[in-house]
């Protein structure tokens, strides 16, 4: 669906800025089209940032401060879209979620299903947190619980690291057309869900540690 340029009134193919006069266009585009990159999951952050800055220079509201309202509004919408696209694609996690969305799939917002392979670990960590919070232990035991929570923190961090490495692998597989799409979607959902859960846990642990003045 074509769009009309707010500045020169010419019709344009859906893109971020007018190919005739350079003014920003207010259209809905998918994030890959916004940045002008092919649809693949492995992305180079440096290249992405260079594109973001370059496009930003062309459509940012500061460039159109003296133009009439329709052009200024288009600039605002185009830049907001650009910012969203960049942020979403830059972070591997949100990139994956967006990819699923493009393929009509979703992760539930509050993911309540505990990933089975993590169930035991999560249970232990939550138990330790509860103990520390309740202040049920004192003396040596208290130190012991604190140590457990601190070591849980580093365990979570390495589990996350592994999950992200796996995510990268999934992305490479997709780009190289290894396995079926349906298969990869299942794998993606699983690893993304694991990351989401681990991050929530990390946040909870972090909070408790801060409250007890530990790091």
């Amino acid at each position: 669906m074509q769009a009309r340029c707010p500045s020169c009134a010419r019709l344009q193919q859906p893109r971020l800025f007018c190919s005739d006069c350079g003014a920003p266009l207010a259209v809905e585009l998918d994030y890959f089209d916004v940045l002008g990159i092919p649809r693949q999951l492995t992305l180079d952050p440096a290249q992405l940032e260079a594109l973001y800055h370059d496009l930003g220079r062309r459509v940012h509201p500061d460039r159109f401060a003296n133009q009439p309202a329709p052009v200024r509004n288009a600039s605002l919408a185009a830049t907001a879209l650009l910012t969203r696209a960049f942020r979403t694609l830059r972070d591997p996690f949100s990139r994956g979620l967006y990819w699923l969305e493009l393929h009509g799939e979703k992760l539930a917002r509050d993911n309540k299903e505990v990933p089975p392979e993590l169930a035991e670990f999560i249970f232990e960590v939550q138990e330790s947190l509860a103990e520390l919070q309740a202040g049920q232990v004192d003396g040596n035991d208290s130190d012991h619980v604190k140590k457990r929570v601190l070591s849980a923190k580093s365990d979570i961090q390495s589990l996350l690291k592994n999950a992200f490495a796996q995510l990268d692998q999934n992305y490479a597989d997709w780009d190289n057309r290894v396995n079926h799409q349906a298969d990869l979607i299942v794998k993606l959902k699983s690893v993304l869900s694991r990351i989401a859960y681990l991050r929530t846990l990390e946040r909870d642990v972090g909070r408790v540690l801060e409250q007890h003045d530990l790091r």
């Binding site: 009309r4 800055h53 003296n66 919408a77 830049t79 907001a80």
Partner: protein
């Protein structure tokens, strides 16, 4: 094109600057040569207003509950008035949000409502009106010094200012007859000034400790792009608070009733502030609080001052740690630290900043001037005169909506680059519901009640339909000023929904219109003129676009339609030459309406042509 000026509307002092031959320059008051305008405003019941030094002169004689003994020339014995300092601390805040020590300062202030009001005789003044007086004075300096009209400005705000505080600043500009083209965050403005001055590229931390507010911003500067990574701060932490701590040293020596006397209290603060400043150079100084029947004297050492200031400075360092954490950086990864704001002259502050970042901070530009200089650099960018320079700032506080159970659901996270937007979909919870209520909040807490209420609005009217059938898409857009704009669209019909926004704090449009009418002096005339020019420009733009369209697509209209459109266009062309702003606006609206079917036809035609062309190409 009208020149855009840069203004630092500070808690303690305000400045105006402009770009000249590619360099920013502070504009001085042609009469006195002063570059800084104290942000002090005297408001008298008889309508007289003084700003800056002349307001300070009146200060000992006003702010009294009743009758001073010595009356200066020009001030009647019964003249009532108030001298307001640090009005920035009241901007965009509801009465109950104002800090305790700020509420105590003025006899005539009313903190009961959504906007603080200062009562003087029969009149009341809001913080934006008072700030507007400061802006008007700066406007006068700018015009006298450059011979140019000051109509368009960039005004700086603390990075940590929330939506209400930003809106209040824009309102102040409007009331002063200025078009606020952009609000810029103070630390970011400072980085622009340094960027132009000396800094090549890298990660920069801007530590901005002023009279009333503290900000820390972490930026990445690369190839003319100034990108903020994270920002943190405290809008109630500044040199003023250190003054207060020092003032208490003297006040504590006084009997209770005297301590609570506002005049005594304000005088003590001024003595304290002066002593604090001296101690940046000296190690010990005397303080003398002179009252009608007694004098309180006290010696103050730098060490003692630093003990008092230490907890406040610690709070600033905590903010620095938070900002670094948000930016995912360690102090070692910062390439340069910049000091901004008068309070950074304190040796204690410099030591602690140096210690935290483990490097010598930059302060080659005057910390009092650097923000105004930066504002004018941004003004240059907006005028299209600064090549490829670009500022990418962030929203300092998360934005969200109140959802079921009183939970704050975040839709835009803090430190997201602006402009940014987020979409939320709403539906009708019950059959035939006519409106959907949305409560927008700002803050980082989990519960809605702990966050700051930004606005409540009603979406609708929604067509009667079964529950769950309505599909309304609401777009929350934070613009380049850091201010929220909301639009709503009915997904089924594609039509824009009307939104009635009730801001939780601040002035409504009606109140501002009224204030504009009541404007204190000539500002009113200037404003009318400017609005007229704007209306004329709008008319010119629409006529030009229409002319082009008639040229290319005139065949899509029949003769009668064409005649009607051209007749109306001719009327607009005539009106455009006149002084009747309302007529021009009304004709523009009518012309827009009349040409809408035409626009649709043009669109259809173009799509058809595109499809035909494609078919031909496919065939061949």
């Amino acid at each position: 094109m009208a020149v855009i000026f840069g203004i630092d509307l500070g808690t303690t002092n305000s400045l105006i600057a402009v770009m000249e031959e590619g360099r920013p320059r502070i504009i001085a008051d042609p009469k006195s040569g002063d570059t800084m305008l104290p942000s002090v405003v005297a408001l008298l019941a008889n309508g007289r207003v003084e700003v800056g030094k002349s307001a300070i002169e009146l200060e000992p004689h006003l702010n009294v509950e009743r009758g001073g003994t010595i009356v200066p020339a020009g001030l009647g014995r019964d003249d009532e008035g108030v001298v307001v300092r640090s009005v920035k601390r009241y901007m965009g805040l509801g009465g109950d949000e104002v800090a305790q020590e700020d509420r105590h300062r003025y006899a005539f202030a009313d903190f009961g409502g959504p906007v603080v009001r200062f009562k003087v005789g029969q009149r009341t003044f809001t913080p934006p009106q008072i700030s507007a007086e400061i802006l008007r004075t700066l406007k006068g300096w700018g015009e006298a010094a450059t011979g140019e009209k000051v109509e368009r400005v960039v005004i700086t705000v603390p990075a940590y200012f929330n939506d209400g505080q930003r809106q209040a600043t824009k309102d102040a500009g409007r009331l002063a007859g200025l078009e606020v083209v952009r609000l810029v965050n103070e630390p970011t403005a400072a980085s622009l000034a340094y960027g132009l001055h000396s800094m090549a590229s890298g990660r920069v931390a801007v530590y901005d400790f002023g009279g009333g507010t503290f900000d820390i911003s972490i930026l990445n500067v690369k190839e003319g792009i100034f990108e903020v990574l994270a920002t943190s701060g405290d809008t109630h932490l500044g040199g003023d608070d250190i003054d207060l701590a020092v003032a208490n040293l003297m006040l504590n020596q006084l009997p209770e009733e005297l301590r609570r006397n506002r005049q005594v209290w304000n005088t003590a603060r001024q003595v304290a502030e002066a002593a604090k400043k001296r101690l940046s150079a000296e190690v010990e100084t005397g303080m003398e609080l002179r009252l009608p029947h007694l004098t309180v004297s006290r010696l103050l050492s730098r060490q003692e001052l630093e003990e008092l200031a230490q907890p406040l400075v610690t709070r600033t360092i905590d903010c620095c740690a938070r900002a670094l954490k948000d930016a995912n950086l360690t102090p070692a990864e910062i390439d340069a630290v910049v000091l901004v704001g008068g309070s950074t002259r304190m040796p204690l502050v410099r030591r602690r900043v140096q210690s935290f970042f483990d490097r010598e901070p930059l302060c080659s530009l005057d910390p009092d001037e650097v923000v105004a200089l930066g504002a004018s650099v941004q003004a240059g960018v907006l005028m299209g005169k600064s090549g490829d320079m670009l500022l990418l700032d962030v929203v300092p506080l998360s934005l969200g909506i109140e959802s079921m159970g009183g939970v704050m659901e975040r839709i835009i996270h803090r430190n997201t680059t602006i402009p940014t937007s987020a979409c939320e979909r709403f539906t009708n919870a019950v059959d035939n519901q006519t409106h959907v209520d949305i409560h927008v909040l700002q803050g980082e807490r989990e519960l809605a009640k702990d966050c700051r209420s930004l606005a409540r609005f009603k979406l609708g009217p929604i067509e009667p339909q079964p529950a769950g059938m309505a599909r309304i898409e609401v777009t929350f857009l934070i613009d380049a000023n850091g201010i929220l704009n909301v639009t709503a669209r009915d997904e089924r019909t594609g039509r824009e929904h009307s939104i009635d926004v009730k801001p939780s704090y601040g002035l409504t449009d009606e109140e501002i219109e009224r204030m504009l009418e009541e404007a204190i002096d000539l500002g009113e005339e200037d404003l009318t003129q400017r609005l007229l020019i704007q209306a004329r420009n709008d008319a010119a733009a629409i006529l030009a676009a229409l002319s082009k369209q008639l040229n290319e697509y005139g065949a899509l209209l029949d003769q009668a339609e064409r005649d009607a459109i051209q007749a109306l266009a001719a009327r607009l062309e005539t009106a455009r030459q006149s002084n009747d702003r309302e007529l021009i606006a009304s004709l523009v609206e009518q012309l827009n309406e009349m040409t809408t079917p035409f626009a649709h036809r043009i669109m259809d035609e173009a799509i058809k042509a595109a499809l035909e062309k494609r078919t031909v190409e496919e065939v061949s």
